[in-house]
Symmetry: D2
Subunit: 332 residues, 4 copies
């Protein structure tokens, strides 16, 4: 990875030029960085990474009416085709021809200026910092994850993984009235943060007795819903193992292996519903409101900050989750 | 496995004594026969197998009002506890304390007489044979499988596996108005039967180009829903691979391995919903009506018939799917 | 109403010029004709009516890629704004700024040529006549109505009203596997047609014992789902009265009164779910397939045909449902 | 209404004798008191009213295992038949043969002792008073009402009526993460209480500009969900009028008229989903937890308290909602 000079883009019809101010580094960025691929999406040319970002509108292209220069904006990183059968029913996150910022072959946001459709920009309130705005993307994923399951008012949930996605799911679940939220991680600093953000109990993900402990914490009833946000095969297995019969499991992490071990017999006997989490859909505006009203706090996600010229260092902190890193943010 | 003398049971309060007339042999019976276990359900004592059965009421216990001696009945093989949280919301198929006929430690139906709660007996019409009535159990599973997914009127579905469950799903899906139903199997006789029962196209499950062929048959749109009823890890992988983005996969087969390989990356990128099929719930009456009205035909499932004394032979035919066996029925 | 000369429209960017071949007259057209309004949608200027139509592409505007001159097409009559919160989640039928063909102030299809967005045109197969294609609009409404309720495989449904919408709901419900479909109307010819199209039992809607008769026909269990497609307050009351506890009622008719009498106490005690039917959404393509595969037949809807110059006569037949009129089609 | 001597009941098999400690007076009790009927449920003999109650177990009948003398308990007032088709799928609140405490012909709880099935008793924590426990019934209705609609995390809701049901819906909706909750009532004291319990804005229900004001408070987007809990026809009309297109309306009030005026044209154009609220189902335990964890507070509902001998006075305060009465509680 290196910093290069690229031409400043010219915003086209309906596009705004956004001066990028903050970019979060997501586990998927690290996948691209290390492997040059995620599953069968493979990078063949040099790629600018980054899709969790916010900035300021610098210029607007022809026909732009909703934003103007100077507007501080959060960004929806997926550009749907609006033509396929999935777009036709509003399932933009699984558009058959989506272009996703920072996913090959679409260049991402780790640069000074990026041109983006105005319809995918959301002005943010004055009270919100650009660092917080850059965290809106993982928050929108968390809010979307919670929207995939039955109403959880009064339910018990477990979240496996306390990174930015896991913490967002935690906060969205608590905001949606879950009675008990358990969360696991390997890193003590993350578990501490989870507790500050509302977790009722935290657990060491490497404890071989984890499933038994969580079972005990529910008086043997087991959690109603389990969200996997750790990106580890082991977490998928734990999720299936700990959830109650008839429960729901949302699998959101990106394991290094494309194919994982899956305890099918157990899942079948429990009659589970499993939702595979694909990015987010329609939850950006709601996420802004949840921060604005104080129900959810993303200001603590950005545990580390680097300027653009130290981007390689930033990726290394993110990669090894150094010093309890939750989100590493590159600031411009 | 051997035939032994057991005492004729005495029907208790609310129970009827059923003279068993026909018992289908299911893949799960074969699992018990070969391995003495299914997943972590393990048999420790000798067990009478069999849960797909029908018979005639011979006697009734105290307080029985809904059936009388002479009634021909189909049987719901699961006895829920009616007390746990799952029963409280009508999810009887995942009752935490269910007793299932022929699943350790509850003896099954491969015997002359069995006592069963009257509330779990369904009188069958005169037009229905006991062999057909014994096939109501797999049919109820198929009808339940189809009820787990979004309405499929006008949709394209694929069914992997053309045994009794697969054929029941096929027929239920066609009855529910799916536009195209594809089905796969390894055995030509089963595929022929599937075609007679309404399959629009049949495929050899061992063809390495299977997924590509099914994709082509949908003009690259891929099936909206895929039902796995083959009990093979390979079929689980095919299901995830062939379904469309945002599609639904129902996993119903019982692979020999408790833990299977699962293409998580692919499933996540497609944002799939996966339903694990656990027996059936509340679909027995509806299944009777579907046969009665001629919408569904199970009379062809019973490809082989044996008397009770040849039960070991019956299991061997079922085990090796000899001569294109769909269902082997033991007749008493 | 009168026939006037209007200028031939010029197709804009992304639009095709459609030579109109057949236009069905819907109850809503008759409302406009008689009252100049439907609810608080009021016509202030002369309006060209007609929204159930099909034709042939005559010319294409700039940027059109999906249709070409000579293509025979069915038409989606609603043009969503694609910008409001409803469009953002794919609920195009309740778009906050929708333009609907033949609804003030958007001129309709009762004319020789109309320009329409190519994305709202669906090429029809050679086997389909333009009269049938004009009937795709009410069929899409019927298919959508059925999609609003829980899966109806093996259920009992009642449809109140056997006009083009009612018959479309009937056929969609039968195609979706309902066990019994009852239908009511005032006009014997319509009930006869309903029987040909699959109704299991037909009833005179004016019979004061109607609800009791339908209850009896279900052995007192009552229909699981009732679709109101009569546009009469009485039918709304019958629907609430006849449906089973916990049942679903879809209200689709357009009564002359904006405010109707509603048996709230009965509906509340039954804990009903009531869906108000607003046009259709995403069911046009599926409706074409359902006709093409022979599952549904709309060829008998067009009971009367008139040339454009006799349009007033056509409206009078439609208005008074003369000679058992189902759909009156104006042919050009 | 008068106080009479009745025999102390003897608890049967599976029943406990409960010494009644507190009984709330609900609007439905007032209906019975004034009219001797609700809809077509008609009282023909003298009836003991009361169904919102709590008490202490005094004795237990044979076979009782879950409660013991001395246990303080909340009570589920509906006894389902456990045999009909609705019970079979867990829809106990619309059981076809339900017996409801204090609804003709089943005597209610306004007496010293009542025998009740142990399975419908829920032990309450020490921290909960019996007055609070008596309020669990309306709270369970509120929690159930919120469970009927799509997840409301980040949504805007309006609640029409700030009685015990309306306030329970309010608190359940806030606990489920709704972004804004508006509430209306005629009585200023109730609106004050609503504000203390979390309402974001309160409105005078008699203001002719009510719908316009609420529309303005949502920047013209209108509430996503409206709950009617006022029992006034006018509130039903307001609900339909104020909700957004595609929104959900839950109708829970019991108007004096069995048949109400219903703006069908408006509801149809908006494509609304309307849920008729029938008591509650499966939300009693969850309601206990919501109080125990401090998410919901019902201690302020009991605005007035009377001993049993002043029950007529109690009903008059409830009937005329004197002094801003929310719940009048009869204490024994």
């Amino acid at each position: 990875m290196r910093v290069v000079d690229v031409e400043k883009p010219v915003p086209g019809e309906g596009e705004a030029l956004v001066q990028v101010k903050a970019v979060g580094i997501c586990a998927s960025d690290v996948h691209w960085y290390l492997d040059g691929r995620i599953g069968d999406a493979v990078m063949t040319d040099p790629l600018i990474l980054g899709h969790e970002f916010a900035g300021v509108v610098a210029e607007v292209g022809p026909g732009v009416t909703c934003v103007k220069p100077g507007d501080r904006v959060a960004v929806e990183p997926a550009i749907p085709c609006y033509k396929c059968d999935r777009c036709a029913v509003g399932e933009y996150n699984i558009c058959r021809h989506v272009k996703f910022c920072g996913t090959a072959p679409t260049d991402g946001a780790l640069r000074e200026f990026i041109a983006w459709p105005e319809s995918l920009l959301a002005p943010i309130p004055d009270s919100m910092s650009v660092d917080e705005a850059a965290m809106l993307e993982p928050l929108a994923v968390g809010v979307y994850a919670v929207s995939l399951v039955e109403p959880i008012l009064g339910c018990t949930v477990a979240i496996l993984g306390a990174g930015a996605i896991g913490l967002s799911i935690l906060q969205a679940a608590k905001a949606a009235g879950c009675e008990q939220a358990f969360i696991t991680d390997l890193i003590p600093e993350r578990l501490e943060l989870a507790q500050k953000l509302g977790a009722d109990q935290v657990f060491d993900a490497s404890d071989p007795g984890l499933v038994a402990s969580i079972k005990a914490a529910t008086h043997d009833l087991r959690p109603d819903v389990v969200f996997e946000a750790a990106g580890e095969n082991e977490a998928v297995i734990q999720a299936i193992d700990m959830v109650r019969p008839g429960g729901q499991v949302v699998i959101g992490g990106i394991p290094y292996e494309d194919v994982v071990s899956f305890p099918a017999a157990m899942a079948r006997r429990k009659g589970l519903t499993i939702r595979m989490l694909r990015r987010s859909n329609g939850t950006l505006e709601r996420s802004i409101k949840l921060i604005e009203s104080g129900k959810i706090d993303v200001s603590s996600y950005a545990t580390h900050r680097f300027p653009l010229e130290r981007v390689v260092e930033a990726f290394d902190v993110a990669r090894f989750r150094r010093d309890g890193a939750v989100r590493v943010v590159v600031e411009l």
